[in-house]
Amino acid sequence: MKFFAILVCKILAFVGKLLNKGSSLPGAVALKICPDILSKIQLTENVVAVTGSNGKTSTVEMIASIFSADGKKVVWNKEGSNQIEGVTTLLLKNSTLSGKVKGDIVVLESDERYARHTFKYVKPTHFVITNLYRDQLTRNVHPFWIYNIVKDAVELIPNTTLLLNGDDPIIRKYALEQKKVCYFGMNKNDYSTSETDALYNDCYYCPVCKSKMDYDYFHYAHLGSYKCSSCGYEKPELDYAVDKLDLENNIMAVNGNEIELAFASRYNVYNICSAFAICSLLGVSDSTITKTLNEFIMKNGRVMRFKAGTNQGLLITSKHENSTSYNQSLEYVSAVKEDCELVIIIDAISRKYYTTEISWIWDISFEMLKKSNVKKIFLCGKYAYDMAVRFEMIDFDGIEVVVEPDLDNMAKLISEPTSMKLYAITCFSDKEKLYSRVEVLNPTDE
């Protein structure tokens, strides 16, 4: 059955590629033919899995690039299919017919909710957990619910080395019962704050004993330097630390190794640090890692240039139902030095399922725009009125707020000539709705 399952998967993957179809179906069919096919595959010496609420795809892209630059043949899920069917497609497609993976290293993006299924068969040698935030709560409930689900996965791999974000008190808990653990994170820097920038702190109380958690400083959300004075649970000593961060000059450093930032955001710094850490742990030289990261260009199209009429625009794709992702985008726009306009589009909550749930809008720190150079905000899409109600709670003195649910009307409004640069924030589910109404530019076009 193994041979047959691999063969069918390869044929379906080939046909799917010709038809430009998704990457889950071949794996799903293979799993029907041979449900334990993954346990019959001979993996590479090292297998890296990456999970977390935000930044999985970017982190995996970076890790794969670094290993490639180090001369290794990397098997990784470029398409981002991170559930068990997608992982099955990836591994079988890249195996010999006898089931030996043809590569030097496997790097898997792993969905938080599906790692516990995948790890029954595929035991990673290294498991990177980047963060746990409020994300798609209609599916994921809350971060501690997901913590427990990932814990099921961690319990399946007691001999795996965990690479954990030490700044995240939720994730740090996995270390309490695992033998081999390394930490990455960020030292205190000019951007650290005494209060969180978020409207909530999921670790206001210690996740271990429920006493109030003390923070020396925050980086953002619930990430920072924490210590529970009651049970002693605290930020660990970091094995890989961001010890320099200069967003003005787009520079960061990990353990003293300077890296140029393509996108000046504190949020991506953690992804870069985790990629640095895992590659360093697996023997790639610091110089190869830094050189690759300096030249790395994101391929996921999350930041794209566009033109509306004669106005220059920049789209920053965020995740709907994820206030941390929105805060990241808002922080970027708030740091813009020149006067600018901002359009926020929420038209479909999700591209995967239907819901009208908008509570997450109330978790976004729109308040940070008060101190920005944004002069005009367009609230657009089906849920423009919901955003407008949220905006009524904020005193935006000096900022004009335009509410326009209709996207064709929005296109006309943002095309009206202005000397200000235009920024747009929306989700994967809605970005095509913007692109179809503006001129999308290549990253190098001005």
Partner: protein, 241 residues
Amino acid sequence: MKNIRILHLFPKLLSLYGEYGNVSIMKKYLESNEYSVTVDEYENIESGIFENADFVYIGSGTEDNLIEACERLVPYSEDVKKSVLSSVWLATGNAMTLFGKNIERFGKLTTAVNAFEYETKIDDVKRFSGDVLSDKNNIFNTEFVGYINTSSIYNGIEGGLLKLLLNGKLGNDKTSENDGFIINNFIGTQLIGPFLVKNPVALQDIYFRITGEKLILSEESYIVKAYKTALSELKHRVSQA
């Protein structure tokens, strides 16, 4: 100018889905009608805090935090029982869990506030979630919109605040379509997040209970337009079901 005192219980411990919006929106409309509003937030309960409260609000939490909140609240059960007879209360999401007789979780029984005659079981494996739309009923002559996301199963609640048309099996006991309850001025609903923002009629109802005055909302206001958007979407879904 009349003073209104809002009591927000556990704004950090029980705060999962933007629940603070319920307090913010009520404060905004009270102030816009010349009321002076004080919001007192309590993470730890103290004796006497319920006295003179016009409106008490409590929202959703993680399952662990619910139990923690229960332990903090139960020593003041008698104060709570007195308060629910005199003040307006709103419990959204899974906060209703705290006010029954007890809570069963992992086979262990925890005594709850015992203000009302029902029992709660927390299921840490199965989650009950989905968009909901309620029918008009004799309490509210309008539909309610929202989302349920809970692991609490309630047994012993007679009737309900709302009758769910969409995802009816998300009702209190997870077999019927009755959601929440209303006893005196205590309103409990499983609907999460800024419930009063999503449902202007609920905002008007509670505003009236607090002040004895009608809150007029324009059809052109964003809050009403947002509600109509959700209503239209959910009705469309019901018609397709």
